[in-house]
């Protein structure tokens, strides 16, 4: 603890124990990833044997890449995540703006209806949503995976809070200059909420990059499968695939987010913080 030194219990032994426990836990937490990296970069015979002299190889990645259409899965996931994020930002900005800028009948009721989605996410209602998708003819399409998430209660809530904090004077000034309602949104509200947009974007991208159950239900072909579903199909396909290849494929799936996280750790952590506090 930061200033524990100042408190009475500033004995070095306590400090030392804290550090030890914190490190022990950290090693436990990083172990699965460390293990995956080890196995993926070494030949199969070292997948459960840890020797410092084991030769490094990229063979496992090459074989995993050939064994399943990962390029397609990457494309699908990237398209899916962008489609969802783009729609969320647009639709939720408009909705949040309506809640902040206008007084209209039933406003509180409508807002309460929006908040319902915070508790009941579309993935719990998967049977009924699947029926809707099949009526719309959207089974096995990327659009069908994304559609239930286009309107996010969380984004509306977050943006509404942010918009509310924007000084009225700025809006009045813009009105005086003859800006229309939508111009005010675009020129005043959106630029000032930029940090919140970035925070929400990171949270949304990591959620949908990792989402699994709903995409599993909606997709049934290579054309629409995202990485997570592709990986699952691949790993359970047959017993002939060894652990080295599965871990290589696993790392491939997690790599873009993981790299982004390692490069922009601070932003990631702050985004999750910012999204959580409000």
């Amino acid at each position: 603890m930061a200033d524990a030194i100042a408190l009475r219990q500033a004995n070095p032994a306590g400090q030392w124990l804290d550090t030890l426990a914190a490190w022990g836990l950290a090693i436990l937490w990083i172990l699965p990833l460390a293990y995956a990296v080890w196995t993926a970069f070494h030949p199969a015979e070292f997948s459960a044997k840890f020797s410092l002299t084991a030769p490094l190889t990229l063979e496992n990645f090459a074989r995993a890449w050939e064994a399943a259409p990962f390029a397609r899965y990457f494309l699908n996931t990237t398209l899916l995540v962008s489609l969802i994020l783009g729609s969320q930002l647009l639709l939720c900005t408009l909705a949040a703006y309506a809640f902040v800028r206008y007084e209209f009948r039933g406003k509180n009721v409508v807002f309460a209806l929006v908040l319902v989605q915070l508790m009941i996410m579309p993935d719990v209602l998967l049977v009924e949503n699947y029926k809707t998708m099949s009526r719309l003819g959207l089974i096995d399409t990327l659009f069908g995976i994304g559609l239930p998430y286009f309107a996010s209660a969380f984004a509306i809530f977050l943006l509404r809070q942010t918009f509310k904090g924007i000084p009225k004077e700025l809006v009045e000034a813009a009105t005086m200059e003859g800006a229309s309602t939508l111009q005010i949104l675009w020129r005043v509200y959106v630029p000032l909420a930029k940090p919140v947009y970035v925070a929400f974007a990171l949270v949304s991208v990591s959620y949908h990059w990792n989402n699994f159950l709903w995409p599993l239900v909606v997709t049934n072909s290579v054309n629409s499968r995202p990485l997570t579903v592709g990986l699952q199909v691949f790993a359970s396909a047959d017993q002939g695939i060894d652990w080295s290849i599965i871990t290589a494929a696993t790392l491939l799936t997690a790599a873009p987010l993981l790299l982004a996280f390692l490069l922009f750790q601070r932003q990631f952590v702050q985004s999750f913080m910012r999204a959580g506090i409000k």
């Binding site: 603890m1 930061a2 524990a4 100042a6 408190l7 009475r8 219990q9 306590g14 804290d18 426990a21 490190w23 836990l25 950290a26 937490w29 990083i30 699965p32 990833l33 293990y35 459960a48 639709l91 939720c92 408009l94 309506a98 809640f99 209209f104 209806l113 929006v114 319902v116 508790m119 009941i120 719990v124 998967l126 049977v127 009924e128 809707t132 239930p148 286009f150 309107a151 209660a153 509306i156 990059w209 699994f212 159950l213 239900v217 997570t228 699952q232 790993a235 599965i246 871990t247 696993t250 799936t253 997690a254 987010l257 993981l258 750790q265 990631f268 952590v269 913080m273 959580g276 506090i277």
Partner: protein, 289 residues
């Protein structure tokens, strides 16, 4: 003019609202109605069957098993992941050696797909050459099939969930700790308060709203998290790791029993609604004194 403004507001809301109704409110109500209807068959349309689906559910041992498993899963994951999250946040909020690494190590599981890490954990648990087995061998422990044994499978699944969640919750505690006025700590130091006393009497009450926020999320997640079940056990052995949502997935998409699936969904929705109501009426009042 006023009517025009009203129209503007509704136009801005319309796209988001339509989708929310289509994929949250409508399916919730449709599920409730479907739960009183029979599953449509090619030769027979769906008919009203009253509480038949619920009666079938009450008689279904797998449903009870799933409910029991889910309650155990929740009872273990919620306190452990939240407790660990708090400990992690207290550690990395201070001047600990290697703080950057610790933060990264704790948070990394959050950005990894559950489906991907489940593959890795699967290997840890594999009998005869998995990592746990190898460590056990060093200490001369007997061989153990963690995921194949009814006694340990649910525990093994739970451990993965705790590992995945603690770092995520840590972030919220970290945010709260950083918002606490440092002069409080100085005052406590001057008064000669012990670290434990300071935590119990100052930090813990100040962290209460965060704890409640985190708890609500932990409860919701306990009823939503199934990705690792799909990869690691498929509910087995002998339904020992079947959770409610997994049972729902099997009933809905393996057995295609719509009416019954609807009844199970209603139970799940009721659980989530209870969380919402408890949060709204009970906890919120206690959080802001």
């Amino acid at each position: 003019m006023n009517a025009q403004k009203q129209a503007h507001a509704w136009l801005l809301l319309l796209p988001a609202l339509t989708l929310l109704v289509a994929f949250t409110h409508y399916p919730a109500i449709a599920t409730l109605i479907d739960s009183f209807m029979s599953t449509p068959k090619p030769y027979r349309a769906s008919v009203f069957v009253g509480i038949d689906n619920y009666a079938a559910m009450v008689d279904d041992p797998i449903f009870w098993q799933a409910l029991r498993n889910n309650l155990w899963f929740a009872l273990a994951t919620i306190p452990l992941s939240v407790g660990l999250a708090l400990a992690m946040a207290l550690w990395v909020n201070g001047k600990i050696a290697g703080r950057g690494f610790l933060r990264m190590a704790y948070f990394t599981p959050t950005v990894l797909p559950m489906i991907a890490v489940a593959n890795i954990w699967l290997f840890f648990y594999t009998p005869s050459y998995g990592l746990l087995e190898q460590i056990g061998n060093l200490f001369g422990l007997p061989s153990q099939n963690w995921l194949g044994d009814k006694a340990t499978a649910l525990g093994a699944i739970t451990a993965v969930a705790i590992w995945k969640e603690a770092g995520f919750f840590m972030i919220f505690y970290l945010a709260a700790l950083q918002g606490i006025n440092p002069s409080l700590r100085e005052a406590a130091a001057i008064e000669g308060a012990s670290r434990w006393f300071f935590f119990r009497r100052v930090l813990w009450p100040l962290l209460m709203p965060t704890t409640i926020f985190v708890l609500v999320n932990a409860v919701i997640n306990a009823f939503r998290m199934v990705d690792h079940v799909v990869v690691m056990t498929r509910g087995g052995p002998d339904n020992a790791t079947t959770l409610l949502l997994y049972h729902l997935y099997e009933v809905g998409f393996k057995f295609w029993d719509q009416g019954y699936a609807a009844a199970v969904t209603v139970v799940l929705l009721a659980a989530l609604a209870t969380v919402a109501l408890v949060q709204f009426f009970v906890l919120d009042r206690k959080a802001h004194y």
